[in-house]
């Protein structure tokens, strides 16, 4: 959203072009003024956007402590008293605890699976020359730019025929499969940067290929695994489209799905404060984790795009 402020006053181009032979003495007042105007302007714009980011989040937190009536009558007023019962109602009656558990199980399983399978495939593709290597690599990374929804229509029936529909392990397998393109792409590049000499030495000493991989290469690849692990964790924790299509059993719902269903069903239940408590409950752990592991999270999420 554009702010309505006037654009930055452009500092007037200095009248005479500065040439190397005729360097004028620096004009401190003008430069200072330019710096100050720009500084005030940039701070102003940046503060406005910071408010626009934080305000909706604060509003949600505030609303989660209010009773239903004041949510509707005065959305911006502070809660008259802190209604912690919203939170306990959301946790027990609105099944937030089940949704949390399902999400933890699904994401835990998929994250481990993604990292293990992804690093195995990436290692082979990065370090071994064999016919079809390039083809398999491009098959994997091609998955990053294809619209997933196209595959989801037949996938629903594939998963159904295998008896995996509405199961936690079925969802885990699908999450892994759809996380592999980026994981393979990222880790292949990472394994290529690791020195070859150590692995060769281990091999000469009689270690098998798989032992070399698990005991030497994987520990060396730890920074890459952490980055891609954070990327996948957030992607899988926040996943909405895959469970919406493949996970229609109310008991197996993950957090995002559960909240959306909760919002839909509030049409006749009318427990809005409980819903807001659920929303904030789902937001806070990720935000807290982000603030604590800020540097790693940013690195993990931007690493792919900087390659």
């Amino acid at each position: 959203m554009k702010t309505t402020e006037t654009p930055a006053p452009l500092p007037a181009e200095s009248g005479a072009p500065i040439t190397k032979t005729d360097v004028p003495p620096p004009a401190p007042p003008k430069e200072k003024k330019e710096g100050t105007v720009l500084n005030v302007f940039s701070h102003g714009v940046l503060v406005i956007w910071a408010f626009m980011v934080v305000l909706p989040l604060l509003w949600a937190v505030m609303t989660s402590f209010k009773d239903d009536r004041s949510i509707f009558s005065s959305p911006w007023s502070l809660p008259d008293s802190l209604h912690f019962d919203n939170w306990s109602r959301a946790w027990t009656q609105a099944n937030m605890s089940d949704y949390f558990l399902n999400t933890v199980l699904v994401v835990g399983g998929s994250l481990i699976g993604t990292l293990v399978l992804g690093s195995m495939a990436a290692y082979v593709l990065a370090r071994f020359d064999f016919p079809g290597n390039r083809f398999i690599y491009f098959l994997f990374i091609g998955g990053m730019s294809f619209p997933i929804m196209l595959a989801l229509v037949p996938l629903f029936y594939v998963v159904n025929n295998m008896g995996l529909l509405n199961t936690i392990h079925g969802l885990i397998l699908v999450y892994i499969a759809y996380s592999l393109p980026f994981t393979v792409f990222f880790l292949t590049a990472f394994f290529r940067t690791l020195p070859t000499s150590i692995a060769e030495a281990a091999f000469v000493d009689g270690a098998s290929h798989s032992r070399t991989f698990f005991q030497i290469m994987l520990p060396m690849a730890k920074p890459g695994l952490i980055s891609v692990g954070i990327f996948n964790f957030l992607g899988q924790w926040n996943q909405y489209m895959l469970p919406t299509v493949l996970n229609t059993d109310p008991d197996k719902r993950v957090l995002t799905q559960g909240l959306v269903q909760l919002a839909v069903s509030q049409g006749y239940k009318g427990d809005w404060s409980g819903l807001f408590a659920g929303l904030v409950m789902a937001m806070l752990p990720v935000l807290a984790a982000y603030i604590i592991f800020q540097r790693q999270v940013v690195q993990g999420l931007t690493a792919g795009a900087l390659k």
Partner: protein
């Protein structure tokens, strides 16, 4: 290193590749095949119908609306998001006051703080963001309209998601809100790696900040901008737009199909209307649009790579 090499390669690739082929590649191939059938998805029987689904699609007004909206998403969202992000990132990294004896170009005070805050929406699920804004947009009790009343704009009370002319823009605003921060951080990292001498040289030559931005910062950052562009476009055509439109709008896709997008239409045809074959046809159209978008951006954006 020949000993047992192929056994090892096969052993390591079998599981990931098998899973990927079964759950990703095979469904993609199947759905292209299904687009030439009359499969409903409800029963296993179907027969080939040639291009019937495709000719039906070309006569489908809702399809054209969804295509139009998806194209608008893919073209406009990256422009707005990346434009804003470049502006913020430049302010954060270069907009600072010149300090005595300090470097020529400095970031604003508290640049770290801004980067942390701006990144908040990126770690939240788009589904949660969409829910939050669905409430905020509520015309009577939502945060936005009551804020407008609070600052004395009681006459300006748009219906937001209820207004067919406004709903699509309201949805797009949410996507911008949730993605700008990611690009600010991405571009900041890129700007930080540009050597300070480049800026010093530009300033010595009499360039002001605007010129510096367009002549120094942007060209050196071009690769990042371009891949960010493709990334954002794919998101805007796919998963992100599905979540926001499906969660926020009435219908979903309404009012009066004013917010429907291709990815949502595929979902509705397949899982609501029992027309799986037709859904895959629209899905194929979405695939074509996505690949064409990526190809055009890569092509138009091609420039000589600047090494520094």
């Amino acid at each position: 290193m020949q000993h047992g090499k192929y056994r090892f390669i096969v052993g390591f690739l079998a599981l990931p590749l098998g899973l990927y082929a079964l759950f990703v590649v095979w469904p993609f191939i199947q759905s292209i095949y299904y687009s030439f059938t009359d499969w409903t998805g409800l029963s296993p029987e179907f027969k080939m119908v040639g291009f019937d689904n495709y000719s039906r699609m070309l006569d489908d007004d809702i399809f054209w609306k969804s295509l139009q909206h998806s194209l608008l998403f893919a073209l406009l969202l990256p422009v707005v998001t990346i434009g804003l992000a470049l502006f913020f990132a430049f302010m954060i990294n270069v907009g600072g006051r010149k300090r005595r004896n300090g470097p020529v170009i400095t970031g604003v005070r508290g640049s770290g703080f801004y980067k942390i805050v701006y990144f908040f929406p990126q770690v939240l699920s788009i589904a949660i963001v969409a829910l939050l804004f669905a409430f905020a947009y509520n015309p009577d009790s939502g945060a936005i309209n009551s804020l407008l009343r609070g600052i004395g704009l009681g006459d300006v009370q748009p219906l937001w998601l209820g207004d067919p002319d406004l709903a699509l823009w309201a949805v797009m605003g949410v996507l911008v809100w949730s993605t700008v921060g990611f690009f600010v951080v991405l571009f900041s990292a890129g700007m930080a790696s540009i050597p300070a001498e480049m800026y010093e040289a530009a300033l010595l030559d009499g360039a002001n900040r605007v010129t510096t931005f367009f002549r120094v910062t942007l060209p050196l950052l071009w690769d990042t901008v371009q891949s960010g562009w493709v990334y954002m476009g794919i998101l805007a055509l796919g998963a992100e737009s599905f979540a926001v439109v499906q969660i926020m709008t009435t219908g979903p896709g309404g009012p009066d199909y004013s917010t429907t997008v291709m990815v949502l239409y595929v979902y509705q045809k397949a899982f609501r209307d029992g027309q799986a074959a037709y859904a895959t046809t629209i899905g194929v159209a979405l695939l074509v649009v996505t690949l064409a978008f990526a190809a055009v951006v890569m092509r138009l954006g091609r420039r000589e790579r600047l090494e520094y």
